[in-house]
């Protein structure tokens, strides 16, 4: 995934991350990363190492579409309408589509970021803060590892997936899957 991202994207993501990460950290900004205070976790039962949470890489953008500011410079028409471009997203859009459209989440003034209900900018790498505004119950569960998935060490470093790693933000309902083969019935096994 990483190799596919153009250098400009990486630079931009780094720039976006630098802002909240340098100061008091994302914790002060918007209670994001599902972390417990490090001190509380430092010495746990079993002499386990202090827990470290690592954010999974967010899914890649559609090839060539980012940064959005290549096309959208400055604010555009904020009125909801049928789009000529982005018709792929528009046709698949199923996220309270009756009431919402692009600019309810994407920032009109700067399309390279998202925005919260109060207008604050949110980078794509922290989209969970945006999701959490409406889905507070899921957000609470996710921050403590009950909703969503974590992989790695149960008593140490683990990677947590973002909302958008599993849910398409434009059509978030989980899609049905083809199941793996059924087990053999006993009579089907050779004796």
């Amino acid at each position: 995934m990483r190799s596919r991202a153009p250098t400009s994207l990486l630079a931009l993501v780094a720039a976006l991350l630098a802002a909240p990460a340098s100061g008091a950290g994302p914790v002060a900004k918007g209670e994001p990363a599902p972390a417990a205070p490090a001190s509380a976790r430092a010495e746990k039962a079993g002499g386990a190492p202090a827990e470290e949470l690592v954010q999974a890489e967010k899914p890649p953008f559609t090839e060539g579409i980012f940064p959005c500011t290549q096309c959208h410079q400055g604010p555009g028409d904020a009125k909801r309408r049928e789009l000529a471009f982005h018709d792929d997203v528009q046709s698949a859009f199923d996220h309270d589509s009756e009431h919402r459209w692009c600019l309810d989440c994407h920032m009109n003034a700067n399309r390279d970021v998202l925005h919260l209900a109060n207008g604050d900018a949110v980078p794509f790498t922290e989209s969970y803060r945006l999701c959490g505004q409406c889905h507070g119950d899921k957000y609470r569960d996710w921050r403590v590892g009950v909703h969503g998935k974590r992989v790695g060490m149960w008593n140490g470093q683990k990677t947590y997936y973002l909302c958008v790693n599993c849910h398409n933000p434009h059509s978030p309902r989980f899609k049905p899957l083809k199941p793996e083969p059924r087990p053999m019935r006993p009579e089907e096994m050779k004796r």
Binding site: K44, A48, C166, F174, K178
Partner: protein
Amino acid sequence: MTPPNGRLTVLNGEEEAGTGHSRRAFLQMALGGAAVAALGACGAEDLLRRHLHELSPEDVQALLARLEKKYSARYGKKVTVAATPALPGVEFAYGLDLSRCIGCRRCVYACVRENNPSRRNPQIQWIRVLEMDKEHGVDLQHANPYYEADLVPRPGHFYMPVQCQQCRNPPCVKVCPVKATWKEPDGIVVIDSEWCIGCRCCMAACPYGARKFNWAEPDLPAAEMNPVTHYLGNRPRPRGVVEKCTFCIQRSRVGRYPACVEICPVGARKFGNLLDPQSEIRRVMETKRVFVFKEDLATEPHFYYFYAT
């Protein structure tokens, strides 16, 4: 109770010397020195050895080395057999979110790839996913493990994966006539497949159908064999012994999540230390609707089903 260093321990510590001794004595008497020599070094040592709990740490190491050598030769790659003991202060528990599971069976095959069961004849799978009717709820009269579908979840159904429930009060352990299966201090119920005599009493005793029997020589292609093994877990089993889920003991005892947890595409599977108030499993216990399967049998599983929504 502190386990003696490096040794695998039983939970309740009370060990009867009887079983181990009598079997050993019997075999020695029956076979005689010459016959024993004829068996070859490896075979004789394994046949005449004592119960795992009676072995010294050096004997355990020698046993592991013999097995590593045997498996490495058989599968043509470097196989490791660990005997990592239970971590102190850890009691494992597992949570499965029935409101999320979609019945895709990814867990079944992740388990198979990790744990080296026989692939086809016989086919052994430690996880069985039951398709149930929403109309009837959790009712085994309406459970189907053999469902086939183009897409899951199918309307009107929900799915309930069942594997070893790692009971605190395990009926399977109670009935074993040779103490080949026991409960470890971290709550995992294990089997010593070197010691199992294949009587299948434990299978009859288990109310969850979690134990599987190797009716024939296991069919495990070398290419698919996972070489990172634990003595009490996923090392290759011989014909005629019972096996089952061990919460991926070879992974969980070194801090990793079990394979089924990591594969689940909907994040329905949770795992952790019940004694750690910050763990995911404790959050589940404290904030969700939780039940245990067949609660009325008082098996007191370490495996919890819950509904997150």
